[in-house]
């Protein structure tokens, strides 16, 4: 995940001056981790919206259907 704060500055991944002096690697970096996936799955995102599609993270984050406004059917389940 990118650390953000509402009084902070936006994040610029292309900034050559922004290097981590500790040399640590991003790893899972707060993109969906196993823990967060399990958390959302265990709470039943699919049931909550009553659709089968909503369990598919790939669909829910990128499908043409999911961009349709108006219904809350395909939440982006954390992965």
């Amino acid at each position: 995940m990118t650390l953000m704060a509402c009084y902070g500055v936006p994040y610029d991944p292309d900034d050559p001056t922004d290097t981590d002096p500790t040399g640590s690697t991003e790893g899972t970096a707060g993109t969906a981790t196993e823990e967060s996936t399990a958390a959302a799955e265990s709470t039943g995102a699919a049931e909550s919206t009553g659709t089968a599609e909503s369990t598919g993270a790939a669909e829910s984050t990128g499908s043409a259907e999911s961009t349709g406004a108006g219904a809350a059917d395909p939440p982006a389940a954390p992965r």
Binding site: C6, P10, G27, A40, T43, A45, S60, G70, A76
Partner: protein, 422 residues
């Protein structure tokens, strides 16, 4: 790897990303300012005290410090503090209104070690100047972007979205792109500080139904232009485009992973008070000052600074308590939820929530109940009314002057006890 990409669930608590208000003195007095900035606080950290804090931040593993105000450049030690941060290996960045940034000032900032500066621009000229309560502010902010760029500093912009400026977003993007920004942070105006006095300015929760898809479309456009549009932490959550909205790369799969206040984020008020996040309500979340105790002690032991660390789903309430994403999201942005309902854990400013309600033909409307007492980082309180999605909108059709007019004068003041919101 860059400093702000962290596995937030694996990292031990440390102030990795710090936002430091150097002074509350400001050359603006914006209509929406959360800290009600204009004049300095009665007591503010001196340059000598601030330089000690720089060493303490470095020792605690701070990776980036964003200098803010008021206007950070109005602190007498501004350049020294920037240089000290850079020397200590802590990346100094800055958020500014840009009004006083001239060519020579920008060059001094670059010489001191500033490499990235974000200028707050909230709309096209008329809207921005109205929101910033300053004629000519838009042109000065735009000029600041040019001065900073000419000095070799990477430039970005921050925009607070509300009912006054939401119509400007697309042309504003074109304007910012033409100024050569590399990144744009877009977030919601929460009813904090002066924005709490202007309930007709802030969004209604259902406004997210049309706003979030527009911001997602702008993000797609920005990717194509090589500009990173990043949502502030109070813009989301878990709509169909959550990954696109929150990832810094087009193929990313980021999502909101919960408020990091007091975990990996820290705020410093200009008197030295430590908070888990710069936007958090002072009376409820500010711990001791670095003028009184070592920063490491405050970070580790102060109950208010750490008050959000141990939260569980049991601490959520209302819609968020039963939400499918509760455990991951934890009710969205803490200061935003607190500024609406007087305590965190139930956040009406949520795309998933608005979509879920809309699918059932319903929506939530914020109705002001109590007004803010008038201190930095304070808030009033709203009632949450659930109604039909197509119910009349009492705030529709107001003109821009009406949106920024003070609209809470007739309300009782929210009683505020330290650490308690009653």
């Amino acid at each position: 790897m860059s400093r702000r990409r962290l596995d937030v669930l694996a990292q031990p608590h440390h102030p990795a990303y710090v936002v430091w208000e150097l002074t509350l003195r400001c050359d603006h007095a914006c209509t929406h300012c959360g800290s009600r900035a204009a004049v300095a606080r009665d007591v503010e950290l001196t340059t000598a005290q601030a330089l000690r804090v720089v060493d303490e931040l470095a020792a605690l593993g701070a990776r980036e410090v964003v200098l803010i105000g008021g206007e950070a450049y109005l602190h007498e030690g501004f350049f020294e503090i920037v240089a000290a941060l850079a020397r200590a290996g802590v990346r100094p960045t800055m958020t500014t209104g840009g009004k006083g940034i001239t060519g020579p000032l920008a060059e001094r900032m670059a010489t001191a070690g500033l490499r990235l500066c974000s200028v707050s621009i909230d709309g096209l000229r008329a809207t921005h100047d109205r929101m910033r309560a300053s004629h000519g502010s838009f042109d000065r902010a735009t000029a600041a972007l040019g001065h900073l760029r000419a000095a070799g500093i990477r430039t970005a912009a921050n925009t607070n979205v509300n009912r006054l400026n939401r119509a400007d977003l697309e042309p504003l993007y074109e304007h910012l792109r033409a100024q050569g920004i590399v990144a744009w942070q877009v977030q919601l105006t929460a009813p904090l500080g002066r924005a709490a006095d202007r309930p007709e300015m802030i969004l209604q929760p259902w406004d997210l139904l049309e706003l979030v898809p527009r911001i997602v479309a702008l993000k797609r456009r920005a990717f194509a232009d090589g500009i990173r549009l990043m949502p502030g932490n109070n813009l989301g959550y878990f709509g169909p485009e959550e990954a696109l909205l929150r990832s810094p790369t087009e193929d990313g799969d980021d999502h909101f992973a919960g408020c990091q206040a007091g975990r990996l984020v820290m705020g410093i008020e200009s008197d030295g008070a430590i908070k888990g996040c710069p936007s958090l309500q002072t009376h409820a979340y500010a711990g001791r000052s670095v003028a009184e105790a070592p920063l490491a002690t405050i970070w580790a032991d102060d109950a208010r600074v750490g008050s959000l660390r141990g939260r569980t789903v049991e601490d959520l309430w209302g819609f968020c308590r039963t939400c499918a994403f509760a455990r991951t999201c934890m009710g969205g942005c803490t200061f935003t939820a607190h500024s609406i309902l007087g305590r965190p854990g139930n956040n009406p400013y949520c795309h998933f929530r608005a979509r879920t309600l809309a699918a059932a033909g319903r929506r939530e409307r914020l109705v002001p109940l109590q007004r803010a007492p008038g201190r930095p980082f304070d808030h009033g309180r709203f009632a949450l009314v659930e109604e039909d999605l197509d119910a009349p909108d009492p705030g529709a059709g107001l003109d821009p002057a009406q949106r920024v007019a003070l609209g809470t004068r007739a309300l009782p003041v929210l009683p505020v006890l330290p650490g308690c919101d009653g």
